[in-house]
């Protein structure tokens, strides 16, 4: 069990009120698995990456438990957390170009990362050679080059390779397709899927449904700070259970561009009860006043839905 998140709740105390970013978020990712967190703007998913790494600002309040390979992260002293961040968890930034230092050659930067991961350069170098060649790059050729001498695609591959180095327990990719052309989105998915092959657990946060589908693995759908559906990707896309999931897929052009009436709630003013109830055609009194629990769909407890329609009994 690589990553276990239980009851993660994150809120921010701001001038404009309390921003409830994550509520009761629970999921598990096995080593070598892919979990894709999907949601629209304003659902809170973009806080998840920073919450897992405990890089939240001072006005954040986090409760719940995050466990990585047996170590509980949520109450770890900062010094140890900092060590873990470099070694056990890797974060792939939105834009590779801004992540690479323009004044240092690639080799030097990779060396820095290897050191941060606690790896000797000999071992790291061999691993990098193998990873990069899998991604279509020759380490010897590029190590002396500077980032601007390489294409955007190559930079992205280097950044991904760096994330894979040392086989961290968890790799988090936060909106990796931001600003990317549709042709390159597919490439990005292939690149990212190399990561779990090395044994790391991969968590991808995105709003791009096509990209999410391409990644496979499992889908965690978020709405109004809650996790509302957690299912294998293929099953989700062929038949979403949660009414929001259904509405979301129906809104795709291929499916008729159907509207969901109303608009998503503000995280500073979440409704009582189910966050989707005001817009849901199946909602009832119960939905409007009670937040449904995340109910497991089978014995293993890996798949779940948060909706009264599926609650047992």
């Amino acid at each position: 069990m690589a990553l276990v998140v239980e009851g993660l709740d994150v809120r921010f105390l701001t001038r404009d009120g309390v921003v409830q970013a994550l509520s009761d978020v629970s999921f598990r990712i096995e080593p070598g698995d892919v979990l894709v967190v999907v949601g629209e703007s304003g659902c809170g998913k973009s806080v998840l990456a920073h919450a897992l790494l405990r890089l939240l600002p001072a006005n954040a309040r986090m409760t719940g438990r995050v466990t990585l390979r047996g170590t509980v992260l949520t109450d770890l002293p900062e010094a140890q957390m900092a060590q873990l961040r470099g070694r056990a968890i890797a974060l792939i930034p939105q834009s590779a170009a801004t992540a690479l230092n323009p004044v240092l050659p690639i080799g030097t930067q990779l060396r820095e990362i290897a050191r941060a991961r606690g790896l000797s350069w000999n071992i790291a170098r061999k691993e990098l050679e193998s990873i990069l060649s899998r991604l279509g790059l020759d380490f010897d050729r590029i190590q002396g080059m500077y980032p601007h001498q390489l294409s955007g695609g190559m930079q992205q591959r280097i950044v991904n390779a760096a994330a894979m180095l040392g086989r961290p327990a968890l790799v988090v990719a936060d909106e990796p397709t931001y600003g990317l052309d549709p042709e390159l989105v597919d490439q990005m998915a292939s690149l990212l899927l190399e990561i779990p092959k090395g044994g790391s657990a991969l968590l991808v946060i995105t709003h791009d449904l096509h990209f999410a589908r391409r990644l496979g693995g499992r889908i965690a759908l978020m709405y109004g700070s809650f996790l509302v559906e957690l299912r294998p990707s293929q099953q989700f896309f062929s038949g979403p259970l949660h009414p929001y999931g259904r509405g979301l897929l129906a809104a795709l052009p291929d499916n008729g561009l159907q509207e969901i009436p109303g608009s998503p709630p503000s995280l500073t003013a979440l409704p009582e009860g189910c966050p989707f109830a005001p817009r849901c055609r199946y909602s009832s009194y119960v939905c409007l006043n009670n937040i449904p629990a995340l109910v497991p769909l089978d014995r293993t407890g890996r798949d779940a839905v948060r909706c009264v329609l599926y609650a047992a009994g």
Binding site: F12, D16, S46, A58, N59, E175
Partner: protein, 304 residues
């Protein structure tokens, strides 16, 4: 470690206040501006209440009390004509404040107007303005201010001359700031959107340019005041400043030159010290404000 560009902003140094003061046992929530604000408040109050605290009549000469060291009756001592120095300092402070604030304001008005013209009209106007800025900035600005003060004295009187002197030597900084801001503002999509919506030029200036410029302009004004105080003091020291019956702190310093050799330290220390305190306090406030403005780290969250 590489980090993502998720839009979460972290509280910057400004938010944290001075931890050190807390260590000194002072109130934990004391912001770093507490001391300068207190100083400025006291000085401004004193200047405003000068007539009440210590009414001043420059004809009230008492030669029996010449050059007395500070005492209970005269906390700042007396001058060479037996007049109370505290009263002179208080009234001088008021004159210094008004003249400096006026000078700074004039500099800001000129600078903004010119900067707006250059930024908005562009082309030849911009070119001429920037060359004018170059010319003015190339001068030694104290010498230039002396020249301007001398030139304008007969026309505008001593106060006016000082204001012109300071304004004409300092407008360039503000013009540069305003023009730079305008050039980047002009490219902003929200300005283009306003044009698209059919707003007139003046509407765009009022709605989109001025609000963005106001913090920078006000900051420039605040930072200019201590500068103006020094200039005014300098000019007065050279005899180009305020006349004796409207003495400013600088004029008092000028007068103290004659009494230097007699060991009357209070004649220099009190006026000089007041200039320093006023300028330093206002300057500190301005600097603190400046660090809060660029870049502005706010503890708000962009949740997406």
């Amino acid at each position: 470690m590489m980090s993502s560009t998720v839009k979460i902003r972290f509280p910057g140094a400004a938010e944290k206040g001075i931890r050190g003061l807390a260590g000194l046992g002072m109130a934990r929530r004391l912001p770093p501006t507490a001391l300068p604000i207190a100083v400025v408040a006291v000085l401004v109050a004193a200047a405003l209440a000068a007539d009440v605290i210590r009414p001043w009549d420059d004809r009230h000469v008492d030669l029996t009390r010449m050059l007395q060291a500070p005492s209970l009756a005269h906390p700042m001592g007396t001058d060479s004509l037996g007049r109370d120095l505290l009263a002179q300092v208080l009234h001088g402070l008021r004159v210094s404040f008004t003249v400096s604030a006026g000078a700074a304001l004039l500099a800001v008005v000129i600078g903004t107007a010119v900067g707006l013209a250059a930024g908005m009209l562009g082309g030849k106007v911009d070119f001429i303005v920037m060359r004018a800025v170059d010319v003015f900035q190339a001068q030694n600005h104290f010498l230039l201010s002396v020249l301007i003060a001398v030139l304008f004295r007969p026309l505008l009187g001593p106060a006016g001359a000082i204001m012109m002197a300071v304004a004409l030597t300092h407008w360039t900084t503000i013009t540069r700031i305003v023009r730079a801001q305008l050039l980047s503002l002009r490219e902003q999509p929200f300005v283009a959107a306003a044009v698209n919506l059919g707003l007139s030029r003046s509407q765009v200036v009022l709605r989109h340019y001025i609000p963005h410029l106001l913090p920078a302009i006000t900051l420039a004004f605040v930072l200019l005041v201590p500068h103006a105080i020094f200039h005014e003091s300098g000019l007065s020291f050279l005899g180009l400043g305020m006349p004796p019956h409207q003495a400013s702190l600088g004029s008092l310093l000028a007068e103290s030159r004659q009494t230097l050799l007699s060991g009357s330290w209070w004649m220099i220390v009190f006026p000089g010290g007041t200039i320093f305190c006023a300028a330093a306090a206002i300057g500190m406030l301005g600097e603190y404000w400046r660090t809060r403005l660029h870049p502005r780290w706010r503890s708000e969250l962009d949740v997406d």
